[in-house]
Symmetry: C2
């Protein structure tokens, strides 16, 4: 019988074992830290941030599945057995959740909802016209993959001018494409609201830094919904406090949970959310993993396999 | 020379006279309350809520233009000279502003942003999964005209199931259409987030009342961005306090500005915004009015003319 090992924090396990038992009764399911298992019996692993060195102890491993869209938790393992395909979770519901988050926080900023929240607290009727028209509010999406493209399309459909920056040129209707290091500054110079949806790789770690912020126009706004490792938090605070940036919405942090004494919690120009941009739906993910195990066992090719050179 | 009279509160006048002078230098512009004018010289009026009885004093009046999408401010005048066409402001930028507002407040509710706002205030990392999946969160739009359709399409594209209710059946891709009084209850029974975008007419005044709220499923949420006259405020507060409704976002009120002692300001389940769902862009509106005056002077037919029987 084909064996799938679930390697996640034990508190999360029930969320995943329930749909997996329903959707994949043909698999033998083992939970790391709960069940006994022979390492030589494990065919597949479903995980998010496995202990470094663990995956290489599984001699029969045929593929590894990521619980989320980002795979930096696997690439951080120097002993990851690179002959074993690593499959990203690419799913419309996940991309759509992230697009909702990006659209909501773009609008909260653009439509001055924080100003109206304060007016309500004060029980004051304070009408104001948005300082910038929608047509003049340029969205820039760092990372124009499945998720970045969907978020960009939804904002484009609300009449924002949208551009994306990625490693290679993309062709998405109504979205201007900038590619590679040579075009980063031109992309930043035309961006009023910057949304980071990049994969975390050696090339993108710390990309949201003081040099990048300085290349944005005055009053630009930053949304980071990718990984905490993209952002130099102290550089962001400096750019907000100098008045160059008008604000930021952050869903991911260097240290998660964000420590109570981190100044971002109380910064008047920052919205903090607790890494909820998009949570994989366990039922959808269980179906995704099961479909691919069935196909792989039949000898068919796996899709959404990570390119280790590229890092995503 | 053709004369256009601007009849708005004097404080608003400069917002409109500047673009009108630029875009319509061929018109003689007069401002009610600021300029002297002969009533018999007025060809056109641009207004929002004219004094009852005033329009009938203008013997040469050829058409009246509304500054906004709603025309209840004109229909409230029992002496409105009904032989004179009343033209609504129908414009993509106005519809788009309203769609943004509806999308933003739908997402703030659906994605529990108020819960995360409170968690940030407490500097607490409180992760939670949305209680209802997007696929199971049914949006219902009361009023499926230009604005309601655009808002519905934008929510449909974020994977919400969307239905609309209107006087006559509508055919919009991916949006279920309910029509007339006979289908109102079926529409309400399948609606988790109700958005009111109706015109205010004798048939819709007070439609958001206790009977309607009772026909919504438990935990439904209400967004009113149409007119304060649609809502019985005390019925809403009762339905929130009984726990039947989970919350409401209101942009319009019985009395505007909303008085400081109105309990809606401080209600923990209510978001109040000061009638900012969509503000007509004066440049766009000036162009719209000028285009139509030129066409009318040429003897061409006016569009977006109000049907006084229907009330919009």
């Amino acid at each position: 019988m084909t064996t799938l090992l679930l390697a996640v924090p034990l508190a999360w396990a029930p969320l995943w074992t329930t749909p997996l038992s329903e959707i994949a009764p043909d698999l033998q399911l083992r939970v790391q830290g709960r069940d006994q298992f022979d390492p030589a019996s494990v065919d597949y692993v479903l995980s998010f941030r496995p202990q470094p060195g663990f995956l290489k102890t599984l001699p029969r491993l045929k593929a590894v599945f990521s619980l989320g869209a980002g795979v930096d938790g696997f690439l951080a393992d120097p002993d990851y057995p690179k002959a074993v395909p690593l499959v990203r979770f690419v799913d419309r519901t996940l991309s759509r959740e992230m697009a909702q988050y990006v659209v909501m926080h773009t609008l909260i900023h653009h439509r001055q909802q924080r100003f109206f929240d304060q007016a309500q607290k004060d029980a004051k009727w304070r009408q104001t016209i948005p300082p910038r028209r929608t047509e003049d509010t340029r969205i820039g999406i760092l990372g124009l993959g499945e998720i970045g493209t969907l978020a960009g399309e939804r904002l484009r459909d609300l009449d924002f001018p949208v551009a994306g920056w990625s490693q290679t040129k993309k062709n998405v209707k109504g979205i201007e494409s900038f590619a590679g290091a040579a075009e980063l500054n031109a992309f930043l110079a035309r961006t009023d609201i910057l949304v980071c949806l990049l994969p975390l790789t050696d090339g993108t770690r710390g990309i949201l830094n003081k040099k990048l912020f300085a290349a944005l126009p005055a009053d630009a706004f930053v949304i980071n919904v990718a990984r905490g490792g993209h952002l130099i938090e102290s550089d962001l605070i400096a750019a907000l406090d100098s008045g160059h940036l008008s604000g930021a919405t952050l869903d991911v942090f260097q240290t998660e949970p964000l420590p109570e004494d981190n100044p971002l919690w109380k910064h008047p120009k920052v919205t903090v959310t607790p890494h909820v941009g998009a949570i994989s739906d366990p039922r959808v993910a269980a179906q995704y993993v099961h479909d691919r195990i069935v196909r792989n066992e039949r000898g068919e090719k796996l899709d959404n396999v990570v390119d280790f050179e590229r890092g995503y």
